[in-house]
Symmetry: C2
Subunit: 209 residues, 2 copies
């Protein structure tokens, strides 16, 4: 009774919006009233985009990124460096790295990190397919770009173990690297946590003017 | 190019979410990825609720509130006091007043306030239907519950002029009232603006222990 809608249709639409993460009932109400002011065509376009995505979504059979076809646009592109694989947790991470404009290789989307607390073991992740991919293609470097957390580090360690046979093959010369840890750009030294600061000291690099 | 989606379906869904007010591209992406994790049925339920609302929405022919039928649940209710009409700007205001649990009368939703700057004149609002409603029914009090802004005050003044003939009829005894202006609950005096503080002094009420 504390939220009364004079219309069941309205109440249901608000309920649906409020189920989305980070959207409370007030925001849901604002969004619903916005859709009422939209053209009917625009609302249909909105609904069909969401519905089509959910029903027609596919994942690239090579890198497991979201894709419209069997192989995603990145894996299929002739402009990407196929000797590099960047291992990431999810689709957002692919976009975050693409946004840096600093990477021209391929990706491998794990679908998460190993987290026993959340019931996520190596079997739930695309680790076997990564190992297969490394063994079956002419990859020169695998870049581990997981979160700098306990779970990320555990997953990095697990992957390095699974790749140990290929890594030991000197003729193959596969490199395994990990994103640098250190000060964020614009960080002030006095406010940087000691673990990060310590790591940035240990991994210091030659100064380039 | 600064935001690259490997899937056109994904990009389109993000675009659609990002068109909603207060939702940027990052939030849109988060919402889209959430819909991908939802059951297909749940996504269908979401889409159909939004779509049905937009296509099937109706407005109460008496008070112009959102309604599922010709006359809304509030106007049709035998438990509401039909001698009171509370004039509000929009549907959210009806819900805000309902949430106070202090009002058992009916409403009249204007659909906005007079605002020449935004091109909203009296003709765009449900003012004529309010006058008709007051003249044709046995209403005892009209409560003006518009925003306490220049536009709200202008609209209050305009409505009072349009109702002047009925208000002058002593036998009819129609009252026209307006929401009290004064300190917000929990406001500290020193931080209250002088216009509000001045009005709260002029309109002071007997103290009740």
């Amino acid at each position: 009774m504390d939220q009364q809608y004079t219309s069941a249709l309205l109440g249901r639409a608000v309920d649906e919006f409020a189920k989305l993460p980070g959207i409370g009932r007030k925001t849901a109400m604002r969004l619903v009233l916005h859709t009422l002011r939209m053209e009917e065509d625009a609302v249909d376009g909105f609904c069909s985009a969401i519905s089509r995505l959910r029903h027609e979504v596919r994942y690239c059979k090579v890198c497991h990124n979201i894709s419209d076809s069997e192989v995603c646009a990145l894996c299929a592109s002739p402009h990407r460096d196929k000797s590099l694989i960047c291992v990431v947790e999810n689709v957002q991470d692919v976009m975050a790295i693409e946004a840096t404009m600093q990477y021209r290789g391929l990706y491998h989307v794990l679908g998460g990190v190993i987290s026993p607390m959340d019931g996520v073991g190596p079997g739930e992740l695309q680790i076997q397919s990564l190992v297969d991919r490394v063994e079956q293609t002419d990859v020169k470097e695998v870049i581990l770009a997981l979160s700098s957390t306990m779970e990320g580090d555990t997953t990095n360690f697990f992957i390095s173990k699974r790749l140990s046979k290929v890594l030991a093959d000197e003729k193959r010369g596969l490199k395994l690297s990990v994103l640098a840890r250190g000060l964020s750009i614009n960080d002030e030294l006095q406010y940087t946590d000691e673990a990060t600061l310590g790591r940035s000291l240990v991994n210091r690099v030659p100064f380039v003017a």
